[in-house]
């Protein structure tokens, strides 16, 4: 049997009509528009039911493929990644030290390109000799004692934390997992939770677990791409400068980190580009004028607050930083 096929021009007009209709009703999703269109096409004899079902399925798949993780889902992925790293590296339970790095880290995050993330930035020291640091997509930042021991000032510590904050703020974590895997878990997260059965949760847990393992493996073994590392260095230098720390602290710390070829060059040395190329990349792109201390104007102090404001004395502030760093260094 041969059915009369309308001209492509007809399809074009029908498509345009649907777009106009969708824009008028404003909240139709692509999937809903396709459902409606497919039903119309069937009633007008343009498509048979099988073709209509195929069309609807294709539209649904396209919508799911384009769906990214919601901020809440990203946070849960981050929690799982952090839990994985904390099962590979023991935490260093020194509340004074962890409070200190959280105050510096959370303070620096205010100057990042993404000061507000789902549950905020959180920091913890790992009891490991390895020189390493990790950042989960949920803002969980872990730094080893091995790396802390390389640090000679609060400015350099700020540089370490700012580099990890930059990875979170720039969204490097999820961007490093293979696209298909993120799409898969994003699509499965979209299961209507009100109707999710125990079986569906179990099935999703399995692919969720695979994605988490993959992400943890990237962070622990291979690290981010060189491009991401250079981006994080530039952003870290901007953050510490804006927060009133020495922008050169990042390069001076990197200069003391072991290179890939050196003995004991595990962790950072393997997961990061060679120190000389990182310093080269920083020098190639000097800090823009006005991105230093003056960037404090990003957080202007409102007029009514100014009356109560105690003037910040940079010299006194730097003395206090030196004092408290010397005291806390005993825990490294």
């Amino acid at each position: 049997m041969k059915r009369k096929i309308p001209s492509p021009a007809f399809f074009f007009l029908l498509a345009m009509g649907t777009i106009v209709f969708a824009s008028l009703t404003s909240c139709l999703t692509l999937s809903e528009s396709m459902d409606m269109l497919a039903s119309q096409a069937v009633s007008q004899g343009l498509l048979d039911r099988y073709q209509a079902v195929m069309l609807k399925t294709a539209a649904k798949a396209a919508v799911e493929a384009s769906r990214s993780l919601t901020p809440e889902e990203e946070y849960y992925v981050g929690r799982a990644v952090a839990a994985n790293i904390l099962s590979n590296y023991p935490p260093y339970n020194r509340p004074e030290l962890n409070a200190y790095i959280n105050k510096i880290g959370q303070g620096l995050a205010l100057y990042s390109s993404r000061p507000a993330i789902f549950m905020g930035y959180h920091f913890m020291v790992l009891d490991s000799e390895e020189i390493n640091a990790f950042a989960s997509p949920g803002g969980h930042i872990l730094v080893t004692r091995g790396l802390l021991r390389k640090v000679r000032s609060e400015d350099e510590l700020a540089a370490v934390l700012a580099h990890e904050i930059a990875h979170v703020a720039l969204g490097h974590g999820l961007a490093s997992v293979q696209g298909a895997r993120v799409t898969q878990i994003a699509a499965e997260f979209a299961i209507d939770a009100g109707k999710a059965t125990g079986g569906e949760v179990a099935a999703f847990t399995s692919s969720f677990g695979d994605s988490i393992s993959e992400l943890a493996k990237i962070l622990i073994l291979s690290g981010y791409s060189q491009t991401y590392e250079f981006q994080a260095d530039l952003e870290a230098r901007r953050i510490i400068a804006a927060a009133g720390y020495d922008p050169n602290a990042l390069a001076s710390l990197i200069g003391r980190l072991p290179s890939r070829d050196e003995k004991g060059g595990a962790g950072f040395a393997v997961t990061h580009p060679d120190p000389s190329s990182r310093i080269g990349a920083l020098n190639a792109q000097p800090l823009e004028p006005g991105k230093g201390h003056a960037a404090r104007k990003v957080w202007p102090i409102p007029r009514q607050e100014k009356q109560n404001e105690r003037a910040v004395d940079p010299v006194l502030a730097s003395f206090i930083r030196v004092d408290r760093f010397t005291a806390i260094k005993a825990y490294f």
Partner: protein
């Protein structure tokens, strides 16, 4: 038969392209409605982290944004005519609708609504903890270190009282 399939595919692509360009146009307009994309955020009296807090807004709340500058958005406090400022990075132009409570709200039990609101991620986490034997206790410990922006700015400026 085959030609009709091609036509259907062409139609699908045209509509997809049309709708995404429409969405792009909508998102390019600065003033409009945005959605809170963090668990909780403060709306302050002025664009400064040390300005007085006027209100709190939670995840998925829609707010009207009048302007945005230097990382701050000038917004209308929901349920009020008053304006305030919040972090622009706490807001998104995307519609956060995945497995949302609204979808489940018709004809399902309260437990299911609760599950839909937040519980699916929680359920997955519980299930993952049990099957993969992963310990989250230190993640919970680190999340307890939480300081106000006022404390943090003071600390960075070398305030010994912080």
């Amino acid at each position: 038969m085959r030609r009709s399939m091609y036509c259907a595919l062409a139609l699908f692509l045209m509509i997809g392209a049309g709708i995404s360009s429409l969405q792009a146009q909508v998102s390019a307009k600065a003033p409009g409605t945005m959605t809170v994309q963090v668990a909780k955020s403060q709306i302050r009296d002025a664009p400064s982290v040390i300005a007085p807090i006027l209100a709190f807004v939670e995840y998925r709340t829609k707010v009207t944004v009048y302007e945005s500058k230097d990382g701050w958005a000038k917004v209308q406090i929901p349920g009020s005519t008053r304006l305030g400022y919040m972090f622009l990075s706490a807001l998104t132009e995307k519609n956060i609708s995945a497995s949302d409570a609204g979808k489940a709200a018709s004809g399902v039990s309260t437990t299911e609504i609760a599950l839909a609101g937040k519980g699916f991620s929680d359920a997955v986490e519980q299930s993952y903890k049990n099957t993969a034997h992963i310990d989250y206790s230190w993640v919970d410990v680190m999340e307890h270190y939480e300081y106000s922006p006022e404390t943090l700015i003071g600390f960075l400026n070398g305030d010994i009282q912080q």
